[in-house]
Amino acid sequence: MKTRTPWIRHGMNEARRSLALARRYWVETVLGLGFVVSLFGGLVFAVLKASGQTLDSGQADGLITGFALWMFASGLAHGSAKEITEETEQRTLEQLQLAPLSLERLLAVRLVLETAMGLILLVLTLGLIALLTAGRVQLSLPALGLALMGAPAMAGLGYALAGLSLLVKRGELLMIAAYPLVIGLVSLPALPLSGLSALPYALAAATARAAAGGTAVPVEVWGWVALNSVVFLALGLAVFRACLRQARRLGVLGHI
């Protein structure tokens, strides 16, 4: 009998579930993508119109790249909390709790799959941006690498939100409240290094924006981004575990 490690087994299981849903409800999938693209286009158009500039001026390049990064970061920050909220609504959270794989690891499997999809979208979006800006904003590997290296920090934020969603009845409100927070973190001027750089993902996003504009990234910045990711992922996991313990103690796991 062929044996598979638990991670691969669970990864395939989650991928099969997601594919079945995406295939059956493909209209929703396409509409979701369409919504994101139109939101992106609409925002760029609105900013250019309001400032009286054109796309060729290069004034909106940073904003455009920031939007692509926000899309990616937002998926990471909201993914786990969204899973918890949906599983609670479907009354399946308790069943997930009975799996040999712990809930935080199961969320990690789902997050990795979603991040892979998010990364594909990010590459496509950055490619589109490079096209729209006539190459001023490049589809640069350093930018992609920084976005990816900073991802664990956002995942940490996501774990913290997911943990709180286990305890509060209206988890979706938490997610709504977190949208401006993520926008803020992505758009902060965290480069050169300052106090703002210590915030989750802020340095990664600022450096990625700079790298997309052709700026060279100092080696130490990569190190700070990595450290930031490790610290905030660990913090997020600690919050998630504390919330899970509290939910179990109160007996409210899976309560709507």
């Binding site: 579930r17 479907q90 069943q95 007996g251 796991l253 899976g254």
Partner: protein, 330 residues
């Protein structure tokens, strides 16, 4: 007070042993004792009925067994493994199948087959489509390829049952499994449990459906106020000293029961008086002796004592108390 224990022949090594489990909740500033000093031993192949009124601690017990709710005290031992704090996730979860509070836990946008496969793989067990179809046939679920959201309430529960049992768990915890099932569904569930038990699965079934429990479970546990009130064989649970009840409404005072009825006395009911009787012969003899007085009563009823009354007796509460039970559930 020690719960009433009746002898049950069991193998020496329990599948699961819960010792001195206790759980207290805080509700609206008040402490609610959901479970107190609760001991439980489950053995391979047993089918156990768990009876108790709302808020008696049934769901808390199931949640502690499944690690969904941490206990304040107590230990849990699975097979011959080490004791671990009750209410924590552990190796035993892999071998558990659970249906909670009568609700079907399934992804409504997936089909029953997709759900079964997902939950089987989630438990790290190899999925067998044939086993899934076999369970569906047994439960009377014809359509395995339609998204669950399009199924009827009963079929949703059937699909959820398949999802909960597809990985062939050693211990199945069913909390209110008959909610939403029609008569045929209940019969088929009955068959599923019988078949599972014959194959060595252990079932702990919590339900308010007394007749379902009485028919299905050779062992019955009664719980009330978080404490065990009865744990024993069905025969002992349903054994009744008195099978009939004489109910009288009368303007006149009731006569003293004759000496041959022993220590039995009239019991006051709402708008009536009742006297328990052992058998038809006793009832006929009493009615013959009291023929004149009975004839003057405004109403008279001789009826069999229901299982429900006996159950309430085990719990030590009256029917009125039961109706007013408002202890919060976790």
């Amino acid at each position: 007070m020690r719960p009433q224990e009746a002898r049950v022949d069991r193998p020496a090594q329990p599948l699961l042993q819960l010792t001195s489990a206790a759980k207290q909740y805080q509700r609206g500033g008040n402490a609610v004792q959901a479970l107190l000093d609760f001991d439980l031993s489950l053995h391979t192949g047993e089918v156990i009925g768990l009876l108790g009124p709302n808020g008696s601690g049934k769901t808390t017990l199931v949640k502690i067994l499944t690690g969904l709710c941490g206990a304040d005290r107590g230990e849990l031992r699975w097979r011959d493994g080490p004791a671990q704090p009750a209410g924590q996730p552990g190796a035993h979860l892999r071998e558990l199948g659970v249906l909670l509070e009568g609700r079907g836990a399934a992804y409504e946008r997936l089909t029953p087959l997709e759900n079964a496969r997902y939950f089987c793989e989630l438990r790290e067990q190899r999925f067998s489509a044939e086993h899934c179809r076999q369970m569906a046939r047994l439960l009377g679920l014809v359509d395995l390829d339609t998204p669950i959201r399009q199924l009827s309430t009963g079929n949703k529960l059937r699909a959820a049952l398949i999802g909960a049992l597809i990985h062939r768990p050693a211990l199945v915890l069913l909390d209110e499994p008959t909610l939403g099932l029609d008569l045929e569904g209940v019969e088929r569930l009955h068959e599923l449990v019988h078949q599972g038990a014959a194959e060595g699965q252990t079932f702990l079934i919590g339900s308010h459906d007394l007749h379902f429990i009485e028919r299905l479970c050779p062992r019955i546990i009664c719980i009330h106020g978080g404490r065990k009130r009865f744990d024993g064989v069905r025969a002992s649970f349903v054994h009744q000293d008195y099978r009939y009840r004489l109910l009288i409404s009368s303007q006149q005072a009731c006569p003293e029961p004759p000496d041959w009825l022993g220590k039995r006395r009239w019991q006051e009911q709402t708008d009536s008086w009742s006297l328990p009787l052992r058998d038809p012969a006793e009832a006929a003899r009493l009615m013959a002796e009291w023929a004149d007085w009975l004839g003057s009563c405004s109403s008279l009823q001789l009826r069999a004592i229901e299982l429900r009354e006996h159950y309430l007796e085990h719990l030590g509460i009256s029917a009125a108390e039961c109706a007013n039970e408002e202890a919060p559930s976790p």
